[in-house]
């Protein structure tokens, strides 16, 4: 690097921290004051996708591994939470109309007469919360091990993740006695006796969600700042050079893939809690690609950009579909084409190009402009 690393780092810390504080203020103060509980709950739902987008910023933006199957992990996280909530909602008293009381309603419709063994541990909340993170991470580890150790990457990896998303959807839809099939797991009511459907619960869950998101952003920032983060960028730009320097490239890729999976899963679990159900329509190829779009609109290299991108796309989706129920898909299509044509680096790119220089001018002064405006998008030379 040509510029003074210490100055650059300090400048970036200030910028990042200010950005996170701004986002935190927006999420915790501005939105709750400005929106009614219905709209706030919707923002909460959008924010759960932001967890996936964060994971993609690390996985795709930093390390260059494009996964088109993040819906798998979002879905598994959501299902783990939904299984716990469904078991709690299926007490023998609540389900006494069924042929077999005490099991989830969809199992009864599918002639199951006992709870399958893999549902049993989900009676425990602790187990469920651990499973939310551990199961997707484990799956990502296995997939990563199989792929990256064999040096499968790039487009091939993206296609294989798509295939996994399709497989998991078919599995869930086909095994409806065990999974609820295409209907998903619906009608979730309480968490340890606390009714999650009330407005107060929604408010509490919104803040929990926002806090978790800020926490995850800080965690991601930490990873990106660490030596690990630099190695990820290096292997994105010149994988062979990193390998020849003695690093086991596959392990780093596996790590970041698992990390992104775990983040997505946290989002999925929060989604289930806030929306009150989980279905295979979040697992498949289409939602997985949509999640990549959120990340792309925000700017795949910027953690905060991913959050804003997710919010923007989902908000536009809701508003357009409410205003033009028959035409909104065209409007969304136009928006995406516009993003790709006009600002390929997303919102973060726009900010970096037009807004940031103006903001810094009065603070840093014109003399230091070039250093302060160092691109967040490292060109290929950045690693040299």
């Amino acid at each position: 690097m040509t510029r003074n690393p210490q100055n650059g780092l300090l400048g970036r810390i200030d910028g990042d921290v200010a950005g996170i504080l701004l986002l935190a203020a927006l999420l915790v103060i501005v939105l709750p004051l400005g929106l009614d509980i219905f709209r706030l709950n919707m923002v909460g739902k959008y924010l759960t996708y932001a967890f996936v987008a964060l994971g993609l910023v690390l996985c795709w933006g930093s390390a260059g591994i494009l996964s088109l199957g993040q819906g798998i992990f979002f879905g598994i996280g959501g299902y783990c939470m939904a299984m716990f909530l469904k078991l709690e909602a299926s007490s023998p008293e609540a389900t006494k109309i069924q042929s077999t009381p005490g099991i989830p309603d969809f199992m009864d419709w599918n002639q199951l007469t006992a709870l399958p063994w893999f549902w049993e541990p989900f009676h425990s909340l602790t187990f469920s919360i651990v499973a939310v993170v551990a199961v997707p991470a484990l799956l990502a580890f296995i997939v990563g091990l199989a792929m990256f150790k064999r040096r499968v990457g790039g487009v091939y990896f993206a296609i294989i993740t798509q295939a996994f998303a399709a497989i998991l959807t078919i599995l869930i839809v086909g095994q409806q006695g065990y999974t609820g099939g295409i209907n998903g797991i619906t009608d979730l009511r309480t968490l340890k006796g606390w009714d999650i459907r009330t407005d107060e619960a929604k408010l509490v869950l919104y803040f929990v969600n926002a806090a978790l998101l800020i926490g995850c952003i800080l965690l991601c920032l930490y990873v990106r700042r660490s030596k690990l983060g630099r190695i990820l960028v290096a292997l994105r730009d010149k994988e062979d050079r990193v390998r020849f320097s003695g690093y086991d490239v596959a392990n780093f890729k596996i790590f970041v893939f698992c990390f992104a999976a775990a983040l997505s899963a946290v989002g999925g679990a929060m989604f289930t809690l806030q929306v009150g159900f989980m279905s295979p329509s979040f697992v498949g190829i289409v939602p997985s690609i949509e999640m990549v779009i959120y990340c792309a609109v925000g700017g795949r290299l910027s953690l905060l950009g991913a959050v804003y991108g997710t919010l923007l796309v989902n908000w536009a989706k809701t508003m357009l579909s409410e205003s033009f129920p028959e035409l909104w898909l065209f409007a969304m299509g136009t928006l995406f084409i516009g993003v790709v044509m006009v600002f390929p680096n997303g919102l973060a790119g726009l900010y970096q190009q037009y807004i940031a220089p103006r903001l810094r001018r009065p603070i840093v002064g014109r003399a230091k402009m070039p250093a302060a405006a160092a691109p967040i998008i490292p060109p290929h030379t950045a690693a040299d």
């Binding site: 219905f38 709950n41 919707m42 739902k45 109309i97 042929s99 969809f106 419709w109 599918n110 002639q111 078919i170 839809v173 086909g174 409806q176 099939g181 295409i182 209907n183 998903g184 619906t186 009608d187 979730l188 009511r189 459907r197 929306v275 009150g276 159900f277 279905s279 329509s281 979040f282 809701t318 579909s321 409410e322 129920p325 028959e326 909104w328 898909l329």
Partner: protein
């Protein structure tokens, strides 16, 4: 409810001139006067009295929601329901609205996506505070919105024939539950065709599975045999292996509940494999006039469909309905079973509100029992205490032109029984 009320509201096909509209409004007021024993006009009912739960009701308007998929894979099926509901609402408005209040529609798109349905249902109930919602098509979308309707105490009129096993204070099911659609059809095919063996084939989700479970029980209770039961994922298009199995097992009846686009492949491949539906009896519970458009009449001609309504049904109500529908939505439009059930929703709601003299959901839920609609295109219907409809089962035979010949209808209305004992 006197039937003249409907006759007054029925002139639907005429000129849309302002004069005519005024005339109709005047006519509409007459039966309204008859309805209110104290002689009060509908407008005289204060909004505070008919709306104690802050729904979107004013002195002159009432808001309702329409929630169907207008985009995505289900749009092709759900468009008919949207059209029928809008037609019914236009007709009701033409005759003066509900309790003197014009119906205003807020339409939302479920986008063939269950979570979107839940989000939009919440929006309609919480933000718009609509007095009723007409909507949903697939079971999955209904399951997704049901907790929302129960939590915010809304009222959903659900038009599709479905698997049963459900009953809610907040839903009126204007389609048939599974036993209403299945049992009479099976009895008919046994009696008329001497059927002894059945091959069940369906798409892999809750409705075909539950329907076939009921069908299997009924078949086996009568000492007949099920020689095969197969399921395919939604959207599946390769039916060659099952067609071979059908050829090997030679069932008397193929009993099909394949839905959506898969139908097109299924019937075309059967035809290509040389199965002649004029010789091989096939009974379907999932093909209406809407699906026939995609399948092509020549590919399915000869098959029997078990429904409660066919467009070709001959009665005065239906003739008026079909004429009005085509006038509003084009001469080429077809009307399937679910479209007709969608048309019932707004009318049943109107009748219930007028019986309850209130828009309050709790009062409507109670007042719904026993509501009769004599103007239904399918003939007379009545709401059961379990919020389903008493209705007839009919068997139609597919014609190459995409319509059905009605070959059988039950003599009486069949009682809805969403939790059938002995079939679970």
């Amino acid at each position: 409810m006197s039937s003249d009320k409907f006759d007054a509201g029925k002139p639907v096909g005429g000129l849309p001139s302002p004069l005519r509209r005024k005339l109709l409004l005047g006519m509409a007021a007459l039966p309204a006067v008859g309805l209110l024993p104290r002689g009060a006009l509908a407008q005289a009912l204060p909004t505070d009295a008919v709306n104690t739960t802050k729904l979107a009701v004013t002195d002159s308007t009432v808001k309702v929601g329409i929630l169907h998929s207008t985009t995505g894979t289900m749009a092709i099926s759900e468009t008919g329901s949207v059209q029928a509901e809008k037609l019914a609402i236009a007709q009701i408005n033409e005759m003066g609205g509900v309790l003197g209040r014009k119906i205003e529609v807020i339409q939302e798109d479920g986008a063939s996506d269950w979570p979107t349905f839940a989000e939009k249902a919440r929006k309609l109930l919480v933000e718009d505070k609509v007095a009723a919602v007409f909507g949903c098509w697939t079971s999955a979308s209904r399951k997704a919105v049901l907790p929302v309707f129960e939590q915010y105490n809304g009222m959903l009129y659900y038009p599709t024939f479905y698997e049963g096993l459900e009953q809610s204070k907040n839903v009126i099911y204007t389609g048939q539950e599974a036993t209403q659609q299945i049992l009479a059809g099976l009895d008919w095919v046994t009696k008329e065709k001497g059927a002894k063996s059945f091959f069940l084939i369906g798409s892999d989700y809750i409705w075909p599975r539950t329907s076939n479970k009921i069908a299997r029980k009924h078949i086996e209770m009568k000492g007949q045999k099920v020689v095969g039961e197969e399921y395919f994922p939604l959207g599946h298009t390769q039916f060659n292996s099952v067609i071979n199995k059908i050829k090997l097992t030679k069932p008397d009846v193929i009993y099909a509940s394949v839905v959506g686009g898969s139908n097109v492949a299924f019937y075309k491949q059967m035809k290509a494999a040389g199965i002649d539906l004029n010789k091989q009896v096939l009974m379907t519970i999932s093909v209406t006039e809407d699906e026939m458009l995609g399948i092509g009449g020549e590919n399915i001609a000869g098959a029997y469909a078990c429904m409660k309504y066919f467009q070709s049904l001959q009665n005065p109500n239906n003739e008026k309905f079909v004429a009005a529908f085509k006038k509003m939505w084009g001469a080429n439009s077809v009307i399937g079973d679910v479209t007709q059930a969608g048309y019932l929703g707004p009318w049943l709601w109107k009748l219930t509100v007028e019986k309850a003299q209130s828009f309050d959901i709790d009062k409507i839920a109670v007042a719904s029992e026993g509501i009769e609609f004599t103007g239904a295109p399918e003939g007379y219907v009545r709401v059961h205490g379990n919020h389903h409809l008493w209705s007839k089962t009919r068997v139609g035979r597919a014609r190459p032109d995409g319509q059905f010949d009605v070959v059988y209808e039950t003599a009486d209305l069949i009682e809805p029984n969403p939790f059938p004992k002995g079939y679970q």
